[in-house]
Amino acid sequence: MKINYWIYLLVLCCVGCQDFLEEDPESLITTDEFLQIEGDAQAMVNAIYHHINSKESIYTKYYWLVNDLMSDLGEYEGNDLDLREFSHFQISPSNRIVHELWKGLYAGIGAANYAIIEIGNTPVSAAEAETLVAEARFLRGMFYFDLVRYFGEVPLVVDYLRSPNEALVAKAPLDSLYALIEADFTFAFEHLPRSSSNGRPGGLAAVTQLGKYYATVGTYSRAAQALRVGLSGSAGLLADYNDLFRIANQNNAEILLSVNLGPNEGGPMNLLTLPRPLNGREEITPTTPFVELFSMGDRRREVTLIETYVDQSGNTRTTDPLIGKYWDPSVEPVAMPTANDIPLIRFADALLLQAEVGNELRAGSNAETLGAINAVRARSRTVPEALPDLGTLNKENFLNAILDERMRELAWEGQRWFDLVRTGTLAERVMQARGIAISEKDMRLPIPAPELELNPGLLPQNPGY
């Protein structure tokens, strides 16, 4: 009798405490509690920027650097094995930066896909939703554009992952990837406000990027058309090239999109490049042809290169040329994680691209394209005899002039490798500047080895690796 009573108690206790073992994560937002309010839509779009504008993002850590190390601009001389591989065109599939580029871009795509799919499920108005989706699609297009330029055929992921056990998508053909990029940029152009504002891209950024995409795939007439739209609406060049790289002057009129950095999200640029007495590591040496390309009286030389500087004790020092483009001594006297932004799309880039596309279409310069390149040159002319206006040039010479101009104008902004691959001049220029013979394989990065292991659908590896 007595025992029965106890057993009864026990059973009661077991039954009575069913929800005792239920987890209620009060300090976490779970999927059940999301998408209920309007602000969640904006928050999902904001989250995409983490993959661009944060100190962990590949755009901050690598984009500006590795794209320009694989070129005629400079050499990496530090101890990082992965960066050395980039600098010497000996990239192996096990290279960690290659893997991080892959993962970082797909993480951005995942965040964008989540926003694109779920914004409609939040209580925002249809018009607002459309703008936000357009912003997310612009960013997704940009991630894919970079992915395709890096790796060629990659998996086309347009949904976000719901379960870790979901099956993996195999490589998609280039055509379908291109279709998505074109559609995303086009949609963004049609639905975003025209101008970029406060670091967020506008329709002009989208159409300019669309132009660059067309130029990359060789659809030059469309490229010209898109760039013309982009250029016509933009504010134009800043008067002083140096103003592009001042921390107090971020997201200025010339910038269509940049990697926005700040005090909490600093970039490594100055730590890597500045002279040792300024706490830098002097790990990047510009090539001699690059240094010599700057004529006296070119404003860009003193902005891009450091040849003399004042150290912390107030002594003026000289050094072999180093990179100082992102150094704004008025705010950051010595090297530290810098708040200086890295331009991704800007007006001068679009102008030079217009010249390049025009050259392809007409096999030589014309008034419009000469106007474009000469505007860029004129802006940096500090003495009348420097950087004279270019006259009519044939296709080959004009291309060379454009590439030289892009070298001076856009160095260490993450454009160079793409530029040289796009124009088919990588091998020739790298041989000229650095004496390194490169091959077809160097027009692509290898698919990261760990990814190949996880997803056999990524086979075959890119040729040559």
Binding site: E22, E23, E26, S54, S92, S94, I247
Partner: protein, 913 residues
């Protein structure tokens, strides 16, 4: 003066308690069933083995138990231990054992016992118990013993009983203990002159400018290691207690106050511990027992055990980086000297903002205020009700409440690459863990030969932890430190709340025939909130057969069963949406994204264990041999599995791995030697072989917590043991390091990495001896391990003549100045960690009874002991008993910037009145 005082206090010293004779007259049965008789455990009583002076009781696990691999991870006061019983099982969850302290089950995660604001390694949460209050420690390893603890028993169980009152007249016990410490030898670095000469050579060989004019002028230079050491560090302990009891009531109340100054400046640990146990017979059939421990720990910590990232401050690392050419008269008060560096000509140059990650080590250890106060109440109340003849109902209620306060202030001048103004912070954490259990026990003898006992039980356990903290940066005026965080310019607030709960049902039957054959069956079912409450069964069976004749005994033991582990944080099953920040137009904006995907179908890690044991006792067990062979397989071990990059995520938690441990253990115990000499000797030897049998779809996962920017230095690979070091093979040619191109592609890439060592020891051993002769007691203990490797990351700095830091004297003679060895994680850093250490030596003298009684006292014992006396090892670092990452078992065997352990010399007196 200080010396004299020390000697006087030493002479006056007295310490108590452990003298209380062990009596069998215990009022109550243990609340928990004693399954230990079946197990392969070796039971020790710390009253036979003296406790570590001013240490923690888990230090006793090192060298005193077969099958236990214990590493004292750090030398800071209240040092944390890393403890493995029969190897490692989990790749993502914890590998520490379950502690049952006076019936209260506790998984010791040091990280959960702090809020994590203060600098340096986590404080050992078990330091809330004073080792002198511990009566016995038993380690349960095999299936029948551990299966009784079901889903938390797989990593082994440490049963801890504290001292209780005995029947007898009340007795007052007083003890004082005093000791001093000095750090173990530190690496021999270059003197000022040699360093200046070396810099000159390195600079000219490397084509860099800068020649120091007169190296000879620097002489010995500044030995920063020596500067930050506190060679007059003292530890003192004062204990007062009363114990006694009558037939219906016994009690023991003990108060301890102890101060332990660190052997590095700026660190200490003060402990106040009240331990009170009461046993009472309330009525004829009801007995109650209460075990209470209240502790207040007050610690000042310093920034050791950093990861070399430059974002974390590191005192020990700074002693190696900070130039010996700078004068030691730099004071912590003078902020300009925090950021001083030697210019090319060898002159000190103050800097307004720190240009170096590592600044003046003296300032780091003394100008930073990093304080932790933990208050812990642990109580377990048990009640036994005798229902019928042989039938007992046992109930228990326990609570373990922890209140943590931490505060931190780092002066702005010490912060690297941050805006000026300093950082202050405060945090509060409180946690409560409670248990409620109910057991029905039946015990009966049938005839003279059949003994049967059975039990069914039920337990609920819950845990809640809340944390609130804030830091503030950029003070206009730094005098307020952490006391008014509202004045800073950048503020960050964190808070968190975490809960989990367990429900368990258990049953066991124990049958013994004629003291010869014993059969034990246990069954336990556990459910945890961490996977939504899905219950799992853990059965085990044990057989024991004993032949005993005229002082000779042979016993065979066999057990098999299943145990579990689930030492992962709560809420892993949920997909979590969290803030991710980015910079937009110069300001920080937050977004929301799914930062983690919920892990699906999480299960307990289950370990199948088989144990075969043989005991041989000779001369009425005066010589006792215990040998065990075990084989354990953990299915569905939790692992962080890499996800394909295209998913947008890095990792997910899943039960995919299979891990095996097998090995043997031998213990030899001697108890007597002649008539007058008592000799208690224990030899323990254990060998464990760990193997990852299966890793799911991938068969390689590179892991490694970051040290000096290297974070893929270990690998999980099928067929290999956990703890493998993964890197490049290298050789030094003419002082220049060359890596081997293993895949033969003509260049050194990540594909050339291979397994270059393993942190897990193949053999662990300990020899402990106590000799008694006419009141004189001599105790010494040797312990060590062999076959383990250590990754000595310190060599990247002080073994690397690249001119960026001081170097060991031996590096200069063997290597090329200016060779930069700071490249890859290679076998250049891997060293043999085999060691044998004379851990302690203790002499005690029990004054003759006749003399003591003349003074109307119960007993007086004086003793002196030394710790960490001698170490035999080939390891070039300070201490082969090291584990930089503490309880992160996956990342064991790393040595970098750790708080050095100390030689201790302690004396004391124990008096009973």
């Amino acid at each position: 003066m200080e010396r004299n005082k020390t000697i006087i206090i030493l002479l006056l010293s007295a310490l108590c308690t452990s003298v209380i004779a062990q009596s069998d007259d215990i009022l109550l049965d243990s609340v928990s069933i004693d399954t230990s008789s079946m197990s392969a455990e070796t039971a020790e009583s710390p009253s036979a083995l003296p406790a570590f002076p001013n240490g923690t009781f888990d230090q006793m696990l090192q060298g005193n138990f077969a099958g236990v691999h214990a590493v004292q991870a750090s030398g800071q006061p209240g040092a944390q231990m890393m403890i493995q019983i029969r190897g490692m099982r989990s790749l993502a969850g914890g590998n520490e054992p379950l502690y049952i302290i006076d019936g209260f089950p506790l998984y010791n995660d040091n990280g959960l016992a702090i809020s994590g604001l203060t600098l340096g390694p986590a404080l050992n949460a078990l330091s809330a118990w004073h080792p002198e209050d511990i009566q016995s420690i038993k380690v349960l390893k095999d299936a029948t013993a551990a299966a009784f603890y079901g889903a938390r028993g797989a990593n082994g169980v440490v049963l801890v009983e504290t001292k209780r009152g005995q029947v007898g007249a009340p007795m007052l016990e007083i003890g004082v203990q005093l000791g001093s410490m000095s750090s173990l030898t530190s690496p021999q670095l270059l003197s000022g002159t040699d360093y200046a000469t070396f810099l000159n050579q390195a600079n000219s060989a490397g084509g860099r400018p800068g020649q120091i004019n007169s190296p000879a002028a620097f002489g010995a230079g500044t030995d920063w290691t020596n500067i930050i050491q506190d060679n007059s560090a003292l530890m003192h302990t004062y204990r007062v207690g009363v114990s006694g009891g009558s037939e219906n009531m016994a009690f023991r109340i003990q108060g301890t106050y102890s101060i332990k100054q660190g052997n590095l400046q700026g660190s200490d640990l003060n402990r106040f511990i009240l331990h009170a146990n009461v046993d009472a017979r309330a009525t004829k059939s009801i007995k109650v027992r209460n075990s209470l421990n209240i502790a207040r720990l007050d610690a000042n910590t310093i920034a050791t055990d950093d990861n070399g990232s430059g974002e974390q401050l590191g005192v020990i690392t700074a002693t190696q980086i900070f130039s010996p050419l700078l004068s030691s008269i730099l004071t912590a008060e003078d902020a300009n000297y925090f950021n001083v560096r030697v210019d090319d000509e060898g002159n000190p140059t103050p800097e307004l903002q720190s240009s170096q990650a590592y600044v003046n080590p003296l300032a780091l250890s003394t100008a930073i205020d990093s304080r932790l106060v933990n208050t812990r109440f642990s109580d377990y109340f048990g009640i036994d009700v005798s229902l019928l003849e042989g039938l007992t109902l046992t109930g228990g209620l326990g609570a373990d409440a922890l209140f943590n306060e931490e505060s931190l202030f780092i002066p702005g001048a010490l912060e690297f690459q941050k805006s000026p103004g300093g950082t202050g912070g405060g945090s509060r954490m409180q946690s409560i863990e409670w248990i409620s259990d109910l057991r029905l026990k039946y015990k009966r003898q049938f005839g003279s030969q059949h003994n049967l006992s059975a039990l069914i039980g039920y337990a609920l356990q819950g845990y809640r932890r809340e944390i609130l903290g804030g830091t503030s940066r950029g003070f206009e005026n730094q005098t307020l430190r952490f006391n008014d965080l509202s004045v800073g310019s950048g503020k960050f607030i964190t808070s968190d709340r975490l809960e989990n709960s367990w429900r368990s049902l258990m049953a066991s039957v124990d049958y013994t025939f004629d003291d010869r054959l014993q059969i034990l069956l246990t069954m336990r079912s556990d459910a945890s909130s961490k996977n939504g409450g899905e219950a799992m069964l853990f059965p085990a069976v044990g057989l024991k057969w004993t032949v005993s004749k005229e002082g000779f005994l042979v016993r065979l033991r066999l057990s098999a069963g299943q145990t579990g582990s689930f030492a992962i944080p709560s809420y892993q099953q949920f997909t979590v949406i969290d803030e991710v920040s980015s910079s937009l137009n110069g300001v920080t904006i937050n977004g929301l994204n799914r930062v983690r995907l919920g892990a699906e179908d999480l299960k307990f890690e289950t370990t199948r264990k088989i144990n075969l044991g043989l005991d041989i006792g000779l001369f009425a067990d005066d010589l006792f041999l215990r040998a065990d062979y075990y084989n354990e397989v953990t299915d569905n071990a939790l692992t962080f599995v890499p996800l394909a990059g295209q998913t947008g995520y890095d990792l997910t938690l899943a039960n995919i791995a299979e891990v095996a441990n097998r090995g043997f253990e031998v213990s030899l115990v001697t108890r007597r030697f002649g008539q007058k000499v008592q000799w208690n000797g224990q030899w323990h030897l254990s060998a464990n072989k760990n193997e990852i049998k299966n890793l799911g779809a991938t068969n390689n996962i590179t892991v490694g917590s970051e040290v000096l920017g290297r974070d893929e230095w270990s690998i999980l690979r099928e067929g290999e043991s956990i703890g493998a070091f993964y890197g490049y093979q290298s050789e030094l040619r003419d002082g220049v390091i060359n890596y081997r191109d293993l895949d033969g592609d003509g260049q050194i890439t990540r594909a050339d990495r291979t397994i270059i060592g393993n942190a897990a020891p193949t053999l662990v051993f300990g020899f402990s001896n106590t000799l008694n002769y006419k009141g004189i007691e001599l105790h010494f203990m040797l312990q060590g391990s062999s076959g383990s490797d250590i990754a000595n990351f310190n060599s990247l700095l002080i073994g690397n003549p690249n001119g960026q830091s001081n170097i060991r004297t031996d590096v200069l003679s063997t290597q090329n100045p200016n060779a930069d060895l700071d490249l890859l994680f290679s076998d250049h850093l891997i060293e043999d960690g085999t060691y044998l250490r004379l851990k302690r030596l203790r002499v005690a003298y029990q004054l003759p009874k006749s003399l003591v009684e003349k003074w109307s006292m119960g007993s007086i014992k004086i003793y002196a002991s030394m710790e960490n006396i001698w170490t035999g090892t080939k390891y070039s670092g300070v201490d082969p008993d090291v584990s930089h990452f503490g309880q992160q078992h996956l990342f064991q065997g790393v040595d970098f910037g750790g708080y050095p352990k100390a030689h201790q010399i302690v004396g004391g007196i124990q008096v009973q009145l």
